[in-house]
């Protein structure tokens, strides 16, 4: 939906003043305007200030060598320390982004339930790159003398170990399930290949039909050519000729 530029309205914010004026200055003195129900309410709880341009919250250090202010009244970018760590982790492990992840929070206090001193596994949270980043942050802030790379290396190795455990657990669970009679159907790859094969078969049927059609047209053209040009085709073996034509559809037959 295309909208035009928003129109500023002045009446909504000034509804109290408008009604006060109406009540006080009457054109017809005997026509009393009754006080609205909301009048005392809006009087005691006035609307907030709008259309002022504040100095926005500052999230970066001002450049001391800048000679004039730039974008003084525009909101600034929010930058956190974890961003770099996150970027580095996901650059090194891009396929971690392909794993499903829970992004819904329960009550907003989910982060308080995690204790990153205890390792990467946290209650109510799947193992993911975010665990690595948070644990790394914790180590960087709480372990004396640890560097960013050192913390990354340490947490990375913990992460690999846990992922390996997960893999093994999954494989064993699968084996156990298969042993007691479960079957898991086709994998996504197999389903994809099957669909692709179906499409190929469809195309093959269509192509065969098309070839037959073209060949039929060509055959019809040549038979009629023969019929008009050479009246004594009765001597020839038409069936063998047609077979020859079909066998070499692209090669024009040599005239007699």
């Amino acid at each position: 939906m295309v909208r035009g530029p928003a129109q500023r309205q002045i009446r909504p914010a000034r509804v109290y003043q408008t009604v006060t004026t109406l009540m006080e200055h009457r054109i017809k003195p005997r026509l009393a305007v009754q006080q609205p129900v909301w009048y005392k309410v809006v009087e005691s709880i006035p609307p907030s200030e709008i259309l002022t341009r504040p100095f926005p919250p500052q999230h970066k250090q001002p450049n001391p060598r800048a000679r004039k202010a730039s974008r003084l009244f525009q909101p600034q970018k929010l930058v956190y320390k974890e961003d770099e760590l996150r970027k580095k982790f996901y650059t090194d492990h891009p396929w971690e982004l392909a794993r499903p992840r829970m992004i819904i929070e329960m009550d907003g206090k989910d982060a308080l339930r995690c204790d990153w001193s205890k390792g990467l596994r946290q209650p109510g949270m799947l193992l993911s790159g975010e665990c690595v980043v948070q644990r790394q942050m914790y180590l960087m802030e709480n372990v004396p003398g640890i560097t960013e790379d050192g913390a990354y290396d340490q947490v990375r190795k913990e992460f690999y170990k846990l992922r390996q455990e997960e893999e093994i657990e999954r494989r064993i669970a699968q084996e156990e399930a298969r042993m007691v009679g479960a079957y898991f159907g086709q994998t996504f790859q197999q389903v994809g290949m099957q669909l692709e094969d179906q499409q190929f078969e469809r195309w093959k049927r269509w192509a065969t039909r098309e070839i037959e059609k073209i060949q039929g047209e060509q055959t019809a053209a040549y038979t009629s050519f023969d019929a008009t040009e050479d009246p004594d085709t009765g001597d020839l073996d038409v069936d063998s000729l047609r077979e020859d034509l079909e066998a070499t559809a692209n090669i024009p037959p040599v005239s007699k």
Binding site: V37, V41, K77
Partner: protein, 423 residues
């Protein structure tokens, strides 16, 4: 295969242990067992064997299989309940409807978890919202949750006070998915709701759009006053809400414009691309997240509920927090005058028939039929001239509600009168 055989074996045992079987059931069981497995199912248990080989001539009464299965399933469930994974309660979208948070429960964490802080892309912002914006993250504006909480509390106070003063509140949310939010808020605050299109002119052209809408007149305890005001209600104009809460101002510009023309204060949820001057009280929040809207709607609904509760308590203690609308006052004055005139006419008539100045007692016992006849337009309920004047505090209430059942034309929100819903 293994599992199926297991089930058969145990089902056989359970059935045999529960009650002796009849011949037909035996056959069924045998058929079942031979179907599932080629190997013969041995019943080593002598009790089972005995039960299966009961004399078929005198079968004992058998309870229905269905009830017995159900009991078995219940037993199984009771036994297996503590076994296995412990399921914790996680977030569910219906939590906010099962247990709606009130103004006291508004925290920055709750607002953040309900995604109230996410605005729109920085390129589509409305600079009038600059004071509500905390920063830019991944290209979108982040709304300052402190501002959101402050404005939400302010709006909740307004809703509560308007409800306390007996005002008519209307909750509007016309985007898909907002129906439940709007209806719940209206139910809590005893207000009206709208979740379909706002018919343009419902306020400014209400004589044409809403002719003859049903209106109820109630007293300070929200009890209907009765038929005494029927004549007034017949030529009464449609009422205008005293407060409008709009969840999606972008789509409801017409409504907000009409409200401003009719001097109705409005509360609206203002995203970073919305114009904040369209509403009186802005709540800066994400208007695209239904979870956020549900939280805000339930907070406002709870505030209205609190206001209604306070109003009813005060009314029970004899304190009325609102004034009678001027139209009703005027109507009552006219009725009082008419009653006085009819009384005087009756007195004069009585004096004329008795041939002299009658005593006061005689005039008071005069039947009101004569007065009815002489004036013609006096309300029929005015039997002795007194009852209708007790309704000094009468509140006209408009219940604007989209009648889902009767909305056949489906164009305009039908304005009808609904019975007061009890708590």
């Amino acid at each position: 295969m293994i599992i199926r055989e297991f089930g058969v074996r145990h089902g056989r045992k359970v059935l045999a242990a529960a009650a002796p079987l009849r011949r037909g059931q035996q056959q069924c069981l045998r058929a079942l067992s031979t179907e599932t497995s080629g190997t013969p199912v041995a019943t080593a248990d002598p009790a089972v064997e005995a039960a299966l080989q009961t004399n078929p001539e005198n079968p004992s009464p058998v309870p229905s299989l269905f009830a017995r299965d159900w009991e078995t399933a219940q037993q199984l469930r009771r036994n297996l309940m503590p076994v296995g994974t412990k399921v914790e309660h996680r977030y569910s979208p219906n939590d906010v409807f099962r247990n709606p948070p009130g103004p006291k429960d508004v925290t920055l964490e709750l607002l953040m978890a309900s995604q109230a802080h996410m605005g729109h892309h920085a390129s589509v912002w409305n600079p009038a919202n600059a004071r509500y914006i905390f920063g830019i993250r991944e290209g979108i504006h982040i709304i300052s949750l402190e501002q959101t909480a402050a404005h939400l509390r302010r709006a909740a106070r307004v809703v509560e006070e308007v409800a306390y003063h007996g005002g008519l509140i209307l909750f509007v949310g016309t985007r898909p998915g907002q129906t439940q939010i709007v209806t719940q808020a209206a139910r809590l605050a005893k207000a009206c709701h709208l979740f379909t299109k706002w018919t343009p002119g419902t306020i400014t052209n209400s004589d044409k759009i809403l002719p003859g809408i049903p209106v109820e007149i109630v007293d300070e305890l929200d009890r209907p006053v009765g038929p005494a005001f029927n004549q007034h209600l017949m030529d009464r104009r449609a009422l205008v809400p005293d407060l409008v809460v709009c969840l999606n101002p972008l789509e409801n510009f017409t409504m907000l414009r009409e409200c401003s023309q009719a001097n109705v204060p409005t509360i609206g949820i203002i995203d970073t691309n919305t114009e904040p001057t369209w509403v009186t009280y802005a709540i800066p929040a994400n208007d695209d997240s239904l979870r956020c809207l549900a939280v805000i709607g339930s907070v406002l609904g709870r505030a209205g509920e609190q206001g209604q509760k306070r109003r009813m308590e005060d009314a029970k203690n004899g304190k009325v927090t609102w004034e009678t609308p001027s139209e009703i006052k005027q109507f009552m004055e006219i009725q009082q005058k008419r009653a006085r005139w009819s009384k005087r006419a009756a007195e004069e008539e009585a004096a004329a028939t008795s041939g002299g100045g009658g005593p006061n007692g005689q005039s008071s016992t005069t039947p009101p039929k004569s007065s009815d006849r002489s004036y013609g337009r006096t309300p029929s309920t005015n039997r002795d001239g007194t009852p209708i004047f007790h309704a000094d505090e009468a509140l006209a209430e408009l219940q604007m509600e989209v009648d889902l059942v009767n909305a056949e034309e489906d164009v305009s929100p039908q304005l009808r009168n609904t019975p007061r819903r009890g708590d």
